[in-house]
C-alpha cells in the first residue's frame, strides 16, 4: 500500500524535529537537492516557470486521472541554487504522485509549523510560497477535472 500524504508529512515533521544543529536543516536540503534528478530539457517551457522565484524553477504537472506527478528543476544561470532545488524537492516529497484532493487537504502552513522558514531568506521564502501556490493551483484544476 502506498504511503498516505499524512504519513509523508509526519515523516518530514519527525525529520525536522530531529535536527539539533542549525546547519542540519541546510545539509538536509543540500542532500535532497543533490539526490533530486533534473528534468528533460524539452519540458522546460516558459509556461512552467514558477513566478516569484529568484532562480528559474520549472514545475511540470502530469495528471493520469487519479494522481498528479510533478517534475521539478531549478536553474540559476552561473550559480548552483542548491537550497532552492532542495526546497522544491522537499515539497515534492509530500505532494508528488498524490491525488488532487489529498494535496488540497494539506495545511498550507505545514512547512512554517515545522520550522522550515526559520533562517530562510525572504527571497527563498517567497519563492517557496509561490511554488506551493502553484502546486495547490494545479491540484484545484485537476480536482475539478476529475470531478466532471
Amino acid at each position: 500500500m502506498s504511503e498516505s500524504i499524512v504519513d509523508r508529512q509526519e515523516k518530514i515533521r519527525a525529520k525536522f524535529a530531529s535536527f539539533t544543529d542549525p546547519d542540519d536543516k541546510w545539509k538536509f536540503l543540500l542532500d535532497l537537492a543533490r539526490e533530486h534528478k533534473g528534468m528533460d530539457a524539452a519540458l522546460k517551457a516558459e509556461k512552467f516557470i514558477i513566478q516569484g522565484c529568484a532562480s528559474t524553477m520549472y514545475l511540470v504537472p502530469k495528471f493520469d486521472g487519479a494522481k498528479i506527478h510533478f517534475e521539478m528543476d531549478v536553474e540559476g544561470g552561473t550559480t548552483n541554487p542548491l537550497i532552492s532545488r532542495g526546497l522544491g524537492a522537499l515539497a515534492l516529497q509530500i505532494f508528488n504522485d498524490m491525488a488532487p484532493a489529498d494535496i488540497l487537504s494539506v495545511d498550507p502552513t505545514f512547512f512554517q509549523k515545522i520550522g522550515l522558514n526559520v533562517g530562510l531568506s525572504p527571497t527563498r521564502s517567497n519563492g517557496f510560497a509561490s511554488l506551493l501556490k502553484q502546486i495547490y493551483l494545479y491540484a484545484r484544476v485537476f480536482d475539478a477535472i476529475s470531478k466532471k
Binding site: W26, L30, T78, T79, I83, P122, T123, R124
Partner: protein, 229 residues
C-alpha cells in the same frame, strides 16, 4: 590479465626441469622466478603515483577552496560596515563555483550569503520599480527621493543601474527637486508669517478684551463709591 608470473606457472617450469633431469635430492629443482616482471613494477609505480598524486591534489584542492572562501568571507564581513563590498563578495562567491572541493559547511555558507545578497538586490529592485513608476507618472521629485533615501549597496544590473544613476544625477531632476524644495520653503515661510500675524491679532484681541473688562470694572467701582457717598 595482470599476472606476477609472466603467464607461466612455476609447476610448468618445474616439470620442464624435471624432464631435463635437474633435480635436488630427487625432487625437481624449483624455478628461480622473479617476484614480478618489469611491467608489473611499472604498473605498481603508476598505481602508487596515482594514489600519492591524488592525495596531494585533494590536499591542494582543499587548501585552494579554503583560501578562496576565506577571501570571500573577509569581503562579506567587510560589507556589513561598507555596503559597497556586497557586490565584490557576491562575485567572489560566484568565482567559487569552479572549485574542485567544497565542503557542506562551505556550501551552506555560500548559499546563505548569496541568498542574503539576493535579498538586498530584490529590495533595491523594488525601490527601482517604485522610482521608475514615479518617473512614468512624471513625479520626478518622488523618484529622486526614493533614490536619494536608499542607503544600501548598488546591486542592480547594468541597464537598471543606468536608469537609477540617471535619476540620481540628472540635472533637470535636481533642478525640479530644488524648485520643489524652494516652493515648500516659501510656503513654509509664508505660513510662518501668517501664523505670527494671527498670533499678534489674537494677542491684540485678548488685550482689548482685558482692557474693556478692566474699564468696566473701574466704572463699576466708581458707581459703587458714588452710591456709598
Amino acid at each position: 590479465m595482470f599476472s606476477f608470473l609472466n603467464g607461466k606457472s612455476p609447476f610448468d617450469e618445474a616439470e620442464e626441469k624435471l624432464e631435463a633431469g635437474e633435480t635436488i635430492n630427487g625432487r625437481p629443482k624449483l624455478p628461480q622466478a622473479p617476484i614480478m616482471g618489469w611491467q608489473d613494477g611499472v604498473f605498481l609505480l603508476v598505481l602508487v603515483g596515482l594514489i600519492v598524486g591524488g592525495y596531494y591534489y585533494y590536499q591542494y584542492a582543499k587548501q585552494k577552496s579554503a583560501d578562496a572562501f576565506a577571501q570571500c568571507d573577509v569581503l562579506f564581513v567587510a560589507a556589513e560596515t561598507d555596503a559597497t563590498k556586497y557586490a565584490e563578495a557576491e562575485s567572489c562567491y560566484n568565482e567559487t563555483w569552479d572549485l574542485g572541493f567544497v565542503s557542506d559547511t562551505m556550501e551552506i555558507l555560500r548559499q546563505n550569503r548569496l541568498g542574503a545578497i539576493e535579498d538586498l538586490r530584490n529590495q533595491q529592485k523594488d525601490l527601482y520599480a517604485e522610482a521608475m513608476g514615479a518617473m512614468a507618472a512624471r513625479d520626478t521629485v518622488a523618484a529622486f527621493n526614493v533614490v536619494k533615501d536608499y542607503k544600501g549597496p548598488m546591486l542592480l544590473s547594468q541597464g537598471d543601474r543606468k536608469d537609477w544613476n540617471n535619476i540620481a544625477e540628472n540635472e533637470a531632476i535636481k533642478a525640479s527637486v530644488a524648485a520643489a524644495a524652494a516652493r515648500a520653503d516659501s510656503i513654509a515661510r509664508e505660513k510662518a508669517i501668517a501664523d505670527s500675524l494671527a498670533q499678534v491679532a489674537a494677542e491684540l484681541r485678548a488685550k482689548a478684551v482685558a482692557d474693556s473688562i478692566e474699564k468696566a470694572n473701574k466704572k463699576l467701582a466708581r458707581k459703587k463709591r458714588k452710591k456709598a457717598q
